[in-house]
Each structure stands twice: as structure tokens, then as C-alpha cells.
């Protein structure tokens, strides 16, 4: 797709010479997390379809499939990932559920704590709305950096502008819909094109953008998605692997939720473990 690129595996291009190696490593690390969101995509869907999962488990076969465009992102606040998202347009039948929306939704709906004190406070005159305190206020987004595998589209670039964001690091650029350079420059003056001789003043909602991080890997993900025929997913695992996977998911759920049937959408705190478990699966499918 991009024969002229010679940046090697890191995919760090141009404009970053002034960055120290340590700093670059930090960004690459977070971008890896964003990519992991996509490679983990089928797994993330599992807890939400737990009934069908146990059903297929009985049949002894599991084919984890997805037809979502593989885009993933993480929001980072003071060096800590506070939200993750993947594209969910097919699952929701909603063409606007891009990874950025999903991640912001996660951030803004993370409960502060589940202590009983909060729950009693909840019966405020407003009723349901203040059931529990949220961990983050929207203002935190202005102090966040976004790492996303593909350049945000025009819609998401505007979403980020309206909520506020500090800086966007992306992998592959998006010539079809890109809102941070690909088609429009929403991050600068909402995309207004300066008149001749005019210098655009910096607006308070403007944000920094840096592209090309782990670009090859992001492109590879997209290519693997588009190459596949009939829009079906590229993950299929053996019956044995499926049993292991189900077991992991089940254990995660138990840890997350106790014996309750309530299922958390993403087993967040177990991420390190899940990453380790999935990588061999991916290799298996490539061979």
C-alpha cells in the first residue's frame, strides 16, 4: 500500500526527530494498546454474547468472527489508559459508533466507586440520573491524549473538538474521511480554510495531531480486514482453543462481577492477561 515508507517496524515517521527515544517508546506503547483493541475485538464481543458463547461451547466449536472495520483507540490521562474503544458500527447497526465514541462513552460512564454510601446519595430529586457518581468529568478529556489506529474521521474529529482533547496520535491516515489532515483539518479552526494571506489564529478548541505511529501495523490490520471475502471475520479458532477462551472469559467475568449474572462489557483490569492469551491465537490463524 505504501512502498515509499521505509521507517521499519516502529512506523515512526518524520516530524518526530526532536522527540527523545524514551518519549517515542511511550507513544508507541500506547499505540500498541490501541492496536490490541482491534486484535482483541472478537474477544471483547464475547461477554456480551455469553449465551451464544456457551451454546457454541456445547457444540464444541467456536468461530469468533467480526465484520467490524478494525479500528481501535485508547485515551490516556497522565500516562494511564482511562478508556478504550473499537469500531462498533455493525454490531449496533449504527454507522456513527466509531471507536472514539465508544471510548468516550466508557470514560464518562465509569462509576467512581460502588460503595453503599454513593448508592444512598443517589436518590436525589432528579431520580435515576444521579444514581451514582462518575469517576471522571468530561473536563478530563481536555487533558487526555488519544491513540487511534486510523486517523479520526471528520465526524470524530469534530466530536473530539467539541468535547476537547489535548493531542491525537494516529497510525494510518484516512484519505477517504480523515478529519485531521486526510480530507479536512477539523483540529485547526474547525477546518476553515484560511483566506489568501490570512494566518489562522489558534483557537481554544484546537488540538495537536501527530500521524504515522505504528502505521504499517495499522494498515496491515485494515488490509487483512478488506482482503477477506464476504465480509466475514478473520478469526477462527480450533475447538480446543475455543474451550480455553471460554474458560478465560468465564473466569474474567467471575472476577469482575462476582456470582452475579450482570456482565461487564470489557474485562478491563485483566487486560494484561488477555493480551497474552490472544496472541498465540492470532499466530495460529495466520499460519
Amino acid at each position: 500500500m505504501d512502498p515509499q515508507t521505509t521507517e521499519g517496524k516502529t512506523g515512526v515517521s518524520r516530524a518526530r526527530e526532536d522527540m527523545s527515544a524514551e518519549e517515542r517508546a511511550v507513544h508507541i506503547n500506547f499505540m500498541r494498546e490501541a492496536i490490541a483493541m482491534v486484535t482483541l475485538l472478537p474477544l471483547l464481543n464475547v461477554p456480551q454474547n455469553i449465551l451464544s458463547l456457551t451454546h457454541t461451547l456445547q457444540q464444541g466449536e467456536l468461530a469468533l468472527q467480526t465484520d467490524e472495520t478494525p479500528v481501535g483507540c485508547v485515551f490516556v490521562h497522565e500516562g494511564v489508559i482511562i478508556g478504550r474503544g473499537t469500531n462498533a458500527t455493525n454490531r449496533t447497526l449504527n454507522g456513527t459508533r466509531h471507536a472514539e465514541f465508544e471510548a468516550i462513552n466508557e470514560i464518562l460512564t465509569t462509576p467512581a466507586s460502588t460503595s453503599s454510601e454513593d448508592l444512598t446519595n443517589a436518590e436525589s430529586p432528579e431520580g435515576v440520573s444521579d444514581r451514582c457518581e462518575m469517576k471522571y468529568t468530561p473536563a478530563i478529556l481536555k487533558e487526555c491524549d488519544l491513540y487511534v489506529t486510523v486517523e479520526p474521521c471528520i465526524m470524530c474529529a469534530s466530536l473530539l473538538r467539541q468535547f476537547g482533547i489535548r493531542k491525537v496520535y494516529f497510525g494510518a491516515s484516512n484519505e477517504k474521511f480523515g478529519g485531521t489532515g486526510g480530507v479536512l483539518n477539523i483540529h485547526r479552526a474547525n477546518g476553515r480554510v484560511p483566506k489568501e494571506g490570512e494566518v489562522l489564529e489558534r483557537h481554544k478548541d484546537d488540538y495537536e495531531v501527530s500521524g504515522g505511529w505504528l502505521r504499517e501495523e495499522a494498515i496491515l490490520l485494515l488490509r487483512r480486514f478488506y482482503v477477506q471475502e464476504n465480509g466475514k471475520g478473520w478469526y477462527s479458532v480450533s475447538p480446543f482453543e475455543s474451550r480455553c477462551l471460554c474458560l478465560i472469559v468465564y473466569l474474567c467475568m467471575l472476577v469482575e462481577t462476582g456470582a452475579d449474572v450482570q456482565i461487564a462489557p470489557v474485562p478491563k483490569k485483566r487486560k494484561d492477561r488477555t493480551v497474552k492469551e490472544v496472541e498465540p491465537l492470532e499466530e495460529a490463524t495466520q499460519s
Binding site: S129, C153, M155, S158, F177, G191, A264
Partner: protein
């Protein structure tokens, strides 16, 4: 909810009449970015004079020369009578004659003016050869002509009087074909007021209840001349929102309507395993994808086989912001109609501050038809200019 919906649909005169008394009410198609930017782009061309009787011979030589490479000048007449061109063209050709020492007297009935080609695609010598390989003195002048085809009959008339005889071929090089627009406009002309009024009313109710700004949206499906309401939503940026800033950006009315359509398609497909998902997902979300006020509806579309909001109509009380405009494209809507223009934040128009004209841009993989539905200042809420609708 069903009966409420039927009542609103079936009696447009009563329901819609109150707000739209204004006689100035009208639908006007939005201009595309290309139409506004390159509206008056010009090209400099060579013009010469030829005897009427040798017109066909010269035309043959002109064709053989193949000089119009890359340029489409189909909207300009090749030959023009002296009486058909503007005064400045005549004086240019007279000046060319004078410089060759030719007299001012011409039998204008025996001569025609010929547009040879752009000065960058043909040389002076070639022009001379085409007009006459034998005659030594050929008056040649250069004039400015409109580079691209006119988008209306009026424009063609105006250009003919200013530049060179121009033909309106009912084509639009900058956007949807005029006949497509006019046919689509006929389709929606009958009931678009009703839908717009529902959108405006949902916005007003949202504002009254403190859910959001007075911005509302209605989504309509139209099959075989029958229109059917699928979703109505009001802005919900302040709903469950204790913070300042620009509110819950995901609660914009357009996003909510799109989500309602999706939710109802999903609901109608359910009965299968998917229903567990709605039951299990966390109840809290920034997406207010279910109706929360009485003016709001979510209804499954008739043709469930189709995906997203393909081909649907979306009526917006205010021109959608950049995010919502792009959301409309991502959802593959077929038509968008808005009431109040948002000159500083709107993403659809090609004439505002931003001038993105997102409804029709060649770079994007989806285009749709867009109208501004103005009704004077008779109704609707005026929002702060800085607000993203």
C-alpha cells in the same frame, strides 16, 4: 405510541399548519462547495473571424487539430454571430484587425466569430493555420470565457451577455444533476413541512424540559410515494449532565435519531439471542438512543433488509454541526433538509464560515441531496451562533 404516531402523520394540514403560515416558506437546494468556489472560474481562449461559407471546412480542420485536450467547453458555442457577442469581444477583434492593417468595414452577415481554444492548448500559429493555411492576415484576439458549465438558465444568459454565448445543458458539473434535485424536491414538497414541524417541536420540548438546546430532528422513510416517520428526537446535551462546556456532544439530536433508527431495527430483529445484549449492557451511556420525551419516537423501518439509514430523509430544525453532518453521511441518508442555517458551525452548507459543504464532496464516498427550508423568521428558535447543532 402507535396511535400518537398515526395521528401526527395523517393530518399534516392541522399539525403542520400552525408554524408554517409564512408565504415565504420554501425549499432551496444547497450549493456544493465546487459550485461556490469555482462558480466564476474563467479561461482565456483565442477567437477569430471566418467567412460563413468556409465554416464547415474550418470546423473539420479544428477537429483534426484536437486542441481541446482536457478541457470541456461544451457549454460554449463554437461559432457566434457578431450580434450575439458582448461589446468587448467586438472591440477586441476590431483591434486585432487594426493591428494587421485591415479596415474596420466588415460585412458582418457574411462572417462568423469562432472560438478556437484555450491559449494554453493551442498556439497562435496553429490558430492561424486552422482558420486559413493560405491567407496571410487572420485577425486573432484572446478573450475570457467561463471555464465550467453554468448551473442554471439564468446563469447562462448572464454569462452570454458578459463573456461569450453560453448554453445551459441542464447539467451540473459541481453536484447533483438539476433534474434529480427537482424530482426529489417534488417528492418531498407535499409533506416536508409536517416533518420539519415535528423536528422543530421536539427541539422546543427538549429545551422546555431542560434536556438540551431547542434543536430537533425527524427521520422519514419514503417508499412508493408513501412517507413514514421512523424517529423524532430532541437535543439531549444537558440530559443527565451536571457539567458545563458544550454539554454531552453525543446527545445531539441527529446522533440520537440515527441511534433510534438503529435501535428499532435491532429491536425488530430480536427475539433471537441479541436481546440479551440490551438486557446486559450497562444502563448508563452517553448515547440517549431511546425516546425520552413525548414528542420523540423510534420506529422500525419497513425495509429491514437495508442497512444503516440508507436512502432515508432527515429533517433538522437547525443546520447540523460538522460532527452531525458527517454522521448523516456515514449513515447513508438520501436527503437532508434543515430549517435554520448555522453560519458559524454548520457542516452542510458551502457558503457559511466553514464552507465544508459536506453533503456533496467528491473526496467523500457518499453524497446526498440537501435543502435549506426557509420560512422567513416565522418560527423556530434562534440559537447562539457558537452552538453546534
Amino acid at each position: 405510541m402507535g396511535t400518537n404516531f398515526d395521528r401526527k402523520c395523517s393530518d399534516p394540514s392541522k399539525e403542520g399548519g400552525a408554524l408554517f403560515k409564512s408565504p415565504t416558506f420554501s425549499l432551496s437546494p444547497l450549493k456544493t462547495t465546487l459550485a461556490t468556489q469555482k462558480h466564476e472560474a474563467t479561461l482565456t481562449v483565442y477567437v477569430s473571424t471566418i467567412p460563413v461559407k468556409s465554416a464547415s471546412t474550418i470546423l473539420g480542420r479544428l477537429r483534426n487539430a484536437e486542441i481541446d485536450n482536457g478541457l470541456n467547453l461544451q457549454h460554449l458555442r463554437r461559432f457566434a454571430k457578431y450580434t450575439d457577442v458582448p461589446e468587448h469581444v467586438l472591440s477586441s477583434i476590431q483591434a486585432a484587425r487594426r493591428s494587421l492593417g485591415l479596415g474596420p468595414d466588415v460585412d458582418t452577415s457574411q462572417e462568423l466569430l469562432l472560438l478556437v481554444g484555450g491559449i494554453n492548448s493551442v498556439s497562435h500559429e496553429e490558430v492561424h493555420y486552422i482558420i486559413s493555411p493560405t491567407v496571410t492576415q487572420v485577425p486573432i484576439c484572446s478573450i475570457m470565457v467561463p471555464l465550467l458549465a453554468p448551473t442554471s438558465y439564468e446563469q447562462a444568459v448572464s454569462w452570454s451577455s458578459r463573456f461569450w454565448p453560453t448554453v445551459y445543458k441542464k447539467s451540473n458539473p459541481f453536484g447533483p444533476h438539476p433534474s434529480i434535485i427537482s424530482r426529489a424536491q417534488e417528492d418531498i414538497d407535499g409533506d416536508s413541512r409536517t416533518w420539519m414541524e415535528l423536528a422543530i417541536r421536539a427541539g422546543q420540548e427538549s429545551r422546555r424540559l431542560g434536556h438540551g438546546e431547542a434543536i430537533g430532528v425527524a427521520v422519514v422513510e419514503r417508499c412508493d410515494g408513501q412517507s413514514r416517520l421512523l424517529a423524532v428526537s430532541g437535543d439531549a446535551r444537558w440530559l443527565d449532565w451536571k457539567h458545563g462546556g458544550s454539554g454531552n456532544v453525543a446527545g445531539h439530536a441527529v446522533l440520537r435519531s440515527i441511534a433510534m433508527v438503529a435501535t428499532s431495527i435491532k429491536a425488530s430483529e430480536n427475539g433471537n439471542i441479541d436481546s440479551t445484549e440490551t438486557a446486559c449492557t450497562a444502563p448508563r451511556s452517553i448515547f440517549h438512543d431511546k425516546p425520552v420525551i413525548s414528542a420523540e419516537h423510534g420506529q422500525s423501518r419497513a425495509s429491514t433488509s437495508r442497512y444503516l439509514c440508507h436512502g432515508l430523509e432527515i429533517y433538522c430544525s437547525h443546520e447540523p454541526c460538522v460532527m452531525c453532518s458527517m454522521a448523516i453521511l456515514h449513515s447513508r441518508f438520501g436527503k437532508v433538509i434543515f430549517n435554520k442555517r448555522m453560519p458559524e458551525t454548520g457542516g452542510l452548507s458551502s457558503e457559511g464560515d466553514l464552507a465544508h459543504g459536506l453533503f456533496w464532496r467528491k473526496e467523500l464516498n457518499w453524497t446526498l441531496l440537501a435543502w435549506e427550508m426557509s420560512n422567513g423568521d416565522a418560527s423556530g428558535e434562534t440559537l447562539g451562533l457558537e452552538i453546534n447543532a
